[in-house]
Symmetry: C2
Subunit: 431 residues, 2 copies
């Protein structure tokens, strides 16, 4: 049966709402503006990030009760994952995958750890099609020159591509929206796109309206402080809508839009990020027998496989740097803990000497205040270092686990590469 | 094309190795025995749990270098996930899903939290077939009468079924092995089996050899203390091999074996759990057009759907109990923290009074030792309760998230139920 007659379309919206109550500027007003926009535009699927308060989600849910009947808020971490999806179509099923690494709890001022970053999956029925809609927000990049979170973000990108590949075999189309906190050519982005075969709506759109180069953090946005995007003249692009079809459906992006800072008739923009809208059209394909496991994505050419091996090798190097750092930090915590314990024991021994030595005066050889303060300090050091040891051990396990998986993947790809005809292999090496 | 001529088989082995170095009895000797068994029997896929030390995994890997060329150790948590897979067939890909809940870190004597319980997926190519092999170990049940971990285990069972459903659409056959820490009729087990359609190898085997009723923790095992299985005369069954086919392959279990405590020629058994072996045979089916999304499992009859709604409702109740407990614990932590803070402030005020009141004596109104001890106590309370507040907030988020997802699922199922013909609906209600 040729089902080419059943063509459908889906309009996807994605926005990082910057919704930190009491801290983000004009938070409540902006949510009101966002709700008005969504009510008016009636996108098929709305993917929101940084909706940190469940109250704000419930506010949106109430406002969108008629335009977007189906919704889901992904709960995670201490504060939440910040991920919310609203849909005109039934959300058949959901699943949340929490990234194994997401910054450090003691970096309270960065706050990423408390957000419990994750990728949410909503299985949405669009007509006869099943769309797997993924929504995510990766760890922020606070310094491009000295990005201590790079190994964590690479692990997140790795887990994101794994999760998408493994869960999308049954989907007709795959859509991913969110704030990836990665520039288009960043390692994690290349890893994600090469491995999953996802296409960038901005790059693939037939028509584009919005900020130059599809930027999503721009200087024209009054909420953006210049130092955030300092090394880049006009701004950066870190928010994306990505998509791909399957052997059962073809998908194309006809038009892509971004907001451009200000909103007509309003004194400020929707958020510090620009909002993205993509019009995607899909087209059912005649079922073919080979149509089974879409996990084995179409790396059919030696060149593609060789490229993937290169990207994976680069990612492994980055993860190894992370392993090295985590091990060093754990060793530092261990040494500091041992020092704290030694100091405590030393203090106790010195304090005990007058009581043990016969004939000596039964008083402390140092002031009582110093004694208690030092003991408290030693105990605090012991507690903190124990906790840090546990934390770094977990970080190390996750990094090593990722490195193991990457090694397995490189091995598999290299074997595949050896299976290609010699001419094609040489070509791929020459490129 | 009819591919009925290509029949394959796979022999699966599963064992909880009880591999706590220095604590589990005869740990090293038992690993030696396990390695000998695996080398001799050459099972296709070996699923091991509680391999807590990576050194023991590496020992097995070395010993099995010829019999089981492919292997993977799933890293997670502080100690590890304890999960290891060895395979005669190529492991094409792996993925680890860490359960969002897994006991409490302060229950150090139970230790589950430190193990980072998870489900590991290995995509294994068996001939022309793709087998998704899952391996897991759920939170232990320390008291059947007063099981405080029940909500956590129900959430784990929920996440396990979600993970299997969402990741197995591309698989020809699905195999799950592990220590589920649930009796055959326990809520989590019913949830897992009804939702995924997985079949129990013990119940479905054409032929069975081993312990009566397929028990896996038995009194005849010298490592088992009587109080562990006290309410049950002969023992309990908590380890399983489950399986299912797809629209592309049919699968049957011809024979199932368990060990029976002692090992001939050895003074003690392989572990405190019995080992399971299942001979599975699969048979390729002619591809059909409907063969796409295996997530929408074959709940085609109103009775099945109604049963699933009942199980889900029971599970939701259990998760709600968990939400209630977590909220109460968080409230207790908050109140205790506030008391600690109030006490600290009160102490500081009392200490400051002599310095502030004109003409009063400038000394502390209580002994210096008490002052420092009380201040240290207050600070310790503040630190601990802050940490507990963060932990319980995360627990609450996970429980609430699961409850949300279950509510969504029940809604979907009830809608499906309304779609069935009235006669069938009445039948299902009457049962």
């Amino acid at each position: 049966m040729d089902r080419r007659d059943s063509v459908s379309s889906i309009r996807v919206f994605s926005l990082n709402c910057w919704g930190v109550r009491y801290l983000s500027k004009h938070c409540a007003e902006r949510y009101g503006m966002i709700a008005d926009l969504l009510q008016r535009e009636k996108h098929d699927v709305v993917l929101l990030q940084e909706v940190w308060s469940e109250k704000d989600y419930l506010f949106l849910k109430k406002k969108l009760a008629n335009s977007h009947v189906h919704s889901h808020y992904f709960q995670s971490g201490v504060i939440g994952s910040g991920l919310a999806i609203f849909s005109k179509h039934r959300i058949q099923d959901t699943l949340l995958y929490r990234y194994s690494l997401n910054g450090y709890p003691y970096m309270v001022h960065h706050g990423d750890w408390f957000g419990g970053k994750a990728v949410g999956l909503a299985v949405v029925n669009v007509g006869a099609m099943t769309a797997n809609v993924y929504l995510t927000h990766l760890h922020a990049e606070y310094s491009r020159e000295r990005d201590v979170y790079l190994p964590h973000r690479v692990v997140q990108a790795w887990e994101l591509q794994q999760f998408i590949r493994h869960t999308s075999a049954g989907a007709d189309v795959v859509i991913l929206g969110g704030d990836l906190n990665m520039h288009p050519q960043d390692l994690g982005n290349r890893l994600l796109k090469s491995y999953t075969g996802l296409r960038d709506a901005f790059a693939d759109a037939g028509h584009f309206e919005g900020c130059e180069d599809g930027l999503t953090l721009i200087l024209d946005n009054p909420f953006i402080s210049k130092h955030v995007i300092a090394p880049f003249e006009k701004g950066i692009r870190i928010d994306y809508i990505l998509f791909k079809g399957s052997c059962r459906a073809d998908i194309q992006c006809s038009t892509m839009y971004t907001t451009k800072g200000s909103v007509p008739g309003h004194p400020f923009p929707y958020s510090d990020h620009e909002a993205l809208t993509a019009d995607l059209h899909f087209d059912a394909l005649a079922p073919s027998e080979a149509c089974g496991d879409s996990r084995a994505r179409s790396c059919d050419r030696a060149q593609e496989v060789a490229q993937l091996v290169d990207i994976l090798t680069e990612a492994r190097t980055e993860v190894k740097v992370g392993v090295h750092c985590a091990r060093r930090m754990r060793d530092t915590a261990t040494r500091t803990g041992i020092m704290g314990l030694a100091l405590l024991l030393l203090e106790l021994v010195i304090a005990a000497v007058p009581w043990l030595a016969p004939g000596a005066q039964k008083t402390l050889p140092f002031p009582l205040t110093s004694f208690y303060l030092l003991a408290a300090l030693c105990l605090a050091i012991l507690l903190c270092t124990t906790w840090l040891y546990v934390f770094y051990s977990m970080e190390l396990k996750s990094l090593q686990g990722t490195e193991d998986q990457m090694r397995l993947a490189v091995g598999g790809l290299q074997e595949k590469l050896r299976g290609f005809p010699v001419v094609e292999q040489q070509e791929s090496v020459g490129k």
